[in-house]
Amino acid sequence: MDRILDVFQRADFISDLIIHIELSVLATLFGLLIALPVAILVNRSDFGSTLAINIGNIGRAVPSICILVLMLPIVGLGFDNALIALTLLAISPILINAVVGLRQVSAQIVDAAKGMGLSGRQILSGIQLPIAAPIIFAGIRTSAVQVVASATLATFIGGGGLGNYIVEGFQRGDLYISMAGALTVAVLAIITEVGFGTLQRTFTPKGLRLAQARARTK
């Protein structure tokens, strides 16, 4: 046990932890900044929506380590390159959920809004996005947890992060070092999952929660 604590006190542990967090936060953020506008753009077109969902599904199927590895010949090693790969990974869940979430806003609600005189932009920002928000949030949450887990693999392409310790432990034949890395990343993942879960509940408008509850009891 003390051996694990020893690892935590190493100077480079904190910096690797920070790198891991940086990678995760930035990749999720960039993923969101790419996926959400795309989802909004394709909302008008049936073809675009279906295409986006298909691309998202394929993206979701690709194992995360493969994305990291296949980027190697293209972008090489290092933090930046891990970030690019992780961002690509982060896009899919958000994209799928955003497209589906926006689509699920009932056509009658949008018709009523349009018929009452809301402009396209007002409908998007005032009606569609708020109603789709819980689903979109769920997508961000899935994405974030996945990215935290995959950032562990960044070590294989020289990206740094907590995976370094797991690998070092194996190389040195010292499981305690691996445990230090593994425990930390597990805790990180759980915090992310729970944290986003709470955020999601906070950001679901009360009216929607009631509507969801009602639909469940029907």
Binding site: Q108, I109, A113, K114, G115, I131, G207
Partner: protein, 325 residues
């Protein structure tokens, strides 16, 4: 006043128009019902008024002004819009829902708030209980009331209603219809009301426009005239084989001239003065009598107002002719 002038709508890629050369005028303060079978273009026609759909030919004038003279969005803020599924925004409170258009028009908060309360009162939902609730907490009938209130919010002169009472059970629908007619007596808006139910049309409309498939205007007239003088066989069959009886339901017993009550007294069925002639007919025939004693509520033991005879009912029905070819 709303004028349709030679309005047609054909969707690209289709051979036949959905609405064909529609021309008629809706007067201020009237409820004009658009009614007809599926595919007759009634909803399409209504949606061309607020330009949710644009006509391929012709024009629509509102109070003499072409409805394309301003942007669609601006136009719609001046026209109330209530649809069958209500389309209430689930993430906003009832009060916020009602205040949507006033908010767009820039009213200040206090004014919006009091207007919302006023309208909730109008549609029979106590503001204290309902203003902060959410659509998911309301029953179907209550949601429809909110839908109407929302359409009335900015006090638009014109209202479009597409089967606004369609999604509830018949008993609730009946009540909503009565209440709405009562509201209209006071506010006198110009209303375009779409329904597939001819009985609803007869009940609600000052004028009825019966459309045939393909958006052709079959007859545009008062309910009475349509029932008495159907313009074509289509109209006659559309209004139903019982059109004469339907017409009787347009008149109340208390409004017609009554025979003196000659003291036949107890043997006769009691007819409430508020009833329609149709219900009176039903009651009299069922009792096997040739007349009924007309009483007012609560006065069944006091002096009756008179008698209504089968003969007089028959005479009133007599004007209803079959169409000429």
């Amino acid at each position: 006043m709303i004028e349709f002038k030679g309005v047609s709508k054909t969707y690209p890629g289709m051979d036949t128009p959905v609405v064909r050369d529609l021309s008629f005028t809706i007067e201020d303060g009237e409820i004009c019902v658009l009614v007809g079978p599926s595919g007759c273009g009634k909803t399409t026609s209504m949606r061309m008024i607020n330009r949710l759909i644009e006509p391929t030919e012709g024009e629509i004038l509102i109070d003499g002004q072409d409805n394309t003279s301003m942007s669609g969005t601006q136009l719609r803020r001046k026209i109330g819009y209530a649809i069958q599924q209500t389309g209430l925004f689930p993430h906003r409170t009832i009060a916020d829902n009602i205040g949507t258009v006033p908010g767009l028009l820039g009213w200040d908060k206090a004014r919006i708030s009091s207007r919302a309360d006023e309208l909730l009162d109008l549609v029979g939902l106590p503001p204290d209980q309902y203003r902060d609730r959410y659509p998911a907490e309301l029953s179907g009938g209550q949601q429809q009331r909110v839908g109407v209130a929302r359409a009335l919010a900015a006090d638009p002169p014109v209202m479009l209603m597409d089967e606004p009472f369609g999604a509830v059970d018949p008993i609730t629908r009946d009540r909503l219809q009565n209440e709405f007619l009562h509201i209209q007596e006071n506010i006198k808006k110009t209303i375009v009301f779409v329904t597939h139910d001819i009985d609803e049309g007869i009940k609600m409309g000052n004028k009825i426009a019966i459309l045939k498939e393909g958006g052709i205007l079959a007859q545009y007239d008062t309910p009475e005239n349509i029932l008495v003088n159907p313009a074509s066989e289509f109209v006659q069959s559309f209004v139903g084989g019982d059109r004469v009886l339907k017409r009787l339901s347009l008149t109340r017993v208390g409004d017609v001239d009554l025979e003196p009550a000659n003291g036949h007294g107890d043997a006769l069925p009691r007819i409430n003065a508020e009833w329609t002639l149709r219900d009176a007919l039903s009651e009299i025939i069922g009792a096997g009598a040739d007349r009924g004693l007309v009483v007012t509520d609560g006065e069944s033991n006091g002096g009756p107002r008179g008698a209504i005879t089968l003969d007089s009912i028959r005479k009133i029905s007599h004007g209803a002719r079959a169409p000429r070819g």
